[in-house]
């Protein structure tokens, strides 16, 4: 069951955004070697809205880190838009993440000293976009998540749901190919969780951005195109939802 690539999405090969081939990821904890991923192959297509679910310790976060290009597999190949990742230098990989990948974190990870708008501006500033354009695009991104009236608020003055919406705006402001969200609703109540995933879904449709997120919440599965079940470091199921 380790190799289930493309079973649910029968999209043409040219639409493959992210490709994982026989990914293994081992960690060394003291004198023990832990196999978090035991050979996962997977293709994510452009515009998909994908949920990865499974019990704790199944390897979801390890897989998300590799999908987000912030971690390298112990073995196996990762390609983003046909570009093999393994050959890239750290700077090239940073630049690639900056242009192609957006992140939404479980704990929001907003920069506490910056306002909502300034937080959203950061990814564009990293890209070196001009100041006026940065402000304009960040304002639009905040508007897209319904927080235009919170632009000057600092994260500590915002609710969890608002913070996560700022994080989503930050992830989308660079118009990335893919947004990787590891447990984006874990720190939210059920109402906010639903709202956040619903918002992600709307943006996925309106902006044609690929979303991959992990969750434990079965209610949220109704909103996705595709769900991947990960268990004991292996992909156990790959189902199209609708």
């Amino acid at each position: 069951m380790a190799n289930l690539e493309g079973t649910a999405a029968s999209t043409a090969n040219e639409d493959v955004l992210l490709s994982l081939n026989d990914i293994r990821r081992d960690y060394v904890l003291g004198e023990t070697r832990v196999e978090a991923l035991k050979g996962v192959s997977l293709r994510i297509h452009r515009g998909e809205f994908v949920a990865i679910w499974g019990p704790s310790g199944s390897g979801k976060s390890s897989l998300m880190n590799i999908l987000g290009l912030v971690d390298a597999p112990t073995s196996g190949e990762v390609s983003l838009e046909g570009t093999p990742i393994a050959q890239l230098t750290d700077n090239a990989l940073s630049d690639l993440r900056s242009r192609k990948v957006g992140f939404v974190f479980q704990s929001f990870n907003l920069i506490p000293v910056l306002s909502a708008l300034e937080n959203v501006m950061v990814p564009l500033q990293i890209q070196g976009v001009g100041t006026a354009e940065v402000r304009e695009r960040a304002s639009q991104a905040l508007k897209d998540v319904g927080l235009e009236n919170q632009a000057s608020a600092r994260p500590d003055k915002m609710s969890g749901g608002q913070r996560q919406r700022v994080a989503i705006a930050r992830a989308l402001v660079t118009s990335p190919s893919i947004v990787v969200a590891d447990e984006p609703t874990a720190n939210l109540d059920s109402e906010n969780s639903y709202m956040v995933v619903k918002l992600m879904r709307e943006l996925n449709r309106s902006k044609r951005v690929t979303f991959i997120f992990t969750t434990h919440d079965p209610r949220l599965m109704d909103l996705v195109d595709r769900k991947l079940l990960l268990k004991d470091g292996l992909l156990q199921a790959d189902e199209a939802v609708r």
Binding site: N65, G68, V70, D71, D90, N91, S94, D95, L96, R97, S98, R99, V101, F103, F105, S107, N109, I111, P112, V113, L114, E118, V122, P123, Q125, I126, Q127, R170
Partner: protein, 408 residues
């Protein structure tokens, strides 16, 4: 990325820690600046004392070998009258020259009629002494009277030893240029304090013509050149040496700095003390910045992971934290500068006086602004502050992004 904005806001966010670091940088900068300012004032005072107080002028022109072989054969190493007539116009025509005056030094015995002691004498043109002293206030040389050709000024302790005071008479006994004894009666017209206990019981100033008579030599041992600015000293030495050599004179020109051993000794001592204080303060300040920045980097490990995942390069992380450290140094030094100016104002207006070691004069405690030294201190603090942030930030930037994101 607006590194300055993020840095400044983090400084404000961690206000307690930042305050401790800023105080450390500020007081460190101020203590270095104040001490540098104090010694600058001392150096400036000592330079004035040497040039105008001790009447060294800026340059001393003498024949090559005067200070070595000249002791044995003085006549060969002094300027004759004919030579003076040729040398002095060359010195006077130099654009920065304000005064050229001849000098004759001699030593011998001074007697009050019942007791005698040794003296070290200097013959100088009375009218030129005033010009040489300029606006130098402290009386380190005596006022000779142009209308009294046998009027001499004694150092205070020399006068005290022989119970001589202005208005009294004394007798001077010296060896002439040919080694014969020569004695003349003189009038005491003034007394003065040399400012140095080692010379205050020996010095005696006399009119140049009197010195020539006593020494029985119609010429001068050396020539003193006063320039319009101390800054031209080296340039004048080079250019005048060349002109005099071209005119056929084998001379050497010594600057006031080379002749004032007291200035050099004090400067060496103060420079050593400054280096010691500077390094101590520096270590304290740098340790403070290292501590502050190390804590900041550790606390913001997750932020580093977030920024790295968003595509910020490792160099960007380094810039983020080094900018913050630089801002700490800039703000600390700005506070230190303000504190320096306030303390300087207070000290300079307090009228504090003290007697330096080995001195017989009371001097004022004043603080100058040594801008070049302050600038160097700022640059060094900035560089070390940046280095203090660089190493923990580099460690954090090199950390695996997933580890940084998982940091609690």
């Amino acid at each position: 990325m607006n590194y300055f904005s993020i840095g400044f806001r983090n400084i404000l966010k961690n206000h307690r820690r930042s305050l401790v670091t800023l105080l450390s940088v500020g007081f460190g900068f101020a203590s270095i600046s104040l001490f540098a300012g104090y010694i600058k004032y001392v150096y400036s005072g000592l330079a004035k004392q040497a040039i105008h107080g001790e009447l060294l002028g800026h340059l001393t022109v003498m024949k090559q070998g005067l200070r070595t072989e000249g002791r044995l054969h003085p006549a060969q190493y002094m300027f004759s009258k004919e030579e003076l007539d040729r040398v002095m116009p060359i010195l006077r025509q130099y654009p920065h020259t304000r005064l050229v005056t001849p000098r004759m030094s001699l030593s011998g015995m001074v007697s009050n009629g019942t007791a005698s002691t040794v003296f070290v004498g200097e013959g100088m043109v009375p009218e030129d002494v005033k010009k040489l002293q300029g606006d130098f206030q402290r009386k380190l040389s005596g006022d000779l009277k142009a209308d009294n050709p046998i009027g001499v000024a004694t150092a205070e302790d020399l006068g005290r030893i022989l119970n001589l005071k202005p208005g009294d008479s004394a007798a001077l006994l010296v060896s002439t240029v040919t080694g014969q004894a020569n004695a003349l009666d003189v009038d005491i017209v003034d007394d003065f304090n040399t400012g140095n206990v080692g010379t205050n019981d020996k010095f005696l100033y006399m009119p140049f013509d009197l010195a020539k008579s006593l020494y029985d030599f119609d010429g001068a041992e050396r020539l003193i050149v006063l320039l319009d600015d101390k800054a031209f000293t080296e340039q004048a030495r080079t250019e005048l040496t060349a002109q005099l050599k071209q005119a056929g004179f084998d001379v050497e020109l010594k600057t006031w700095l080379e002749l004032s051993s007291f200035y050099s000794q004090v400067k060496r001592l103060f420079d050593m003390i400054f280096a010691f204080i500077f390094s101590n303060v520096f270590i304290v300040v740098v340790m403070s910045i290292v501590n502050s920045m190390s804590m900041t980097v550790v606390e913001r490990t997750r932020e580093i992971g977030t920024l790295r995942s968003m595509g910020l390069r490792r160099s960007g992380i380094l810039r983020l934290f080094t900018t913050e450290a630089f801002m700490l140094v800039v703000l600390g030094c700005a506070g230190g500068l303000l504190f320096t100016l306030l303390v300087r104002l207070a000290v300079n207006s307090a009228g504090i006086t003290y007697t330096p070691p080995n001195s017989s004069n009371v001097v004022s405690l004043m603080v100058d602004l040594d801008v070049p030294r302050m600038a160097r201190t700022f640059v060094m603090l900035s560089l070390l502050g940046i280095a203090a942030a660089f190493f923990p930030a580099r460690t954090a930037a090199r950390k695996c992004i997933t580890d940084s994101l998982g940091h609690v």
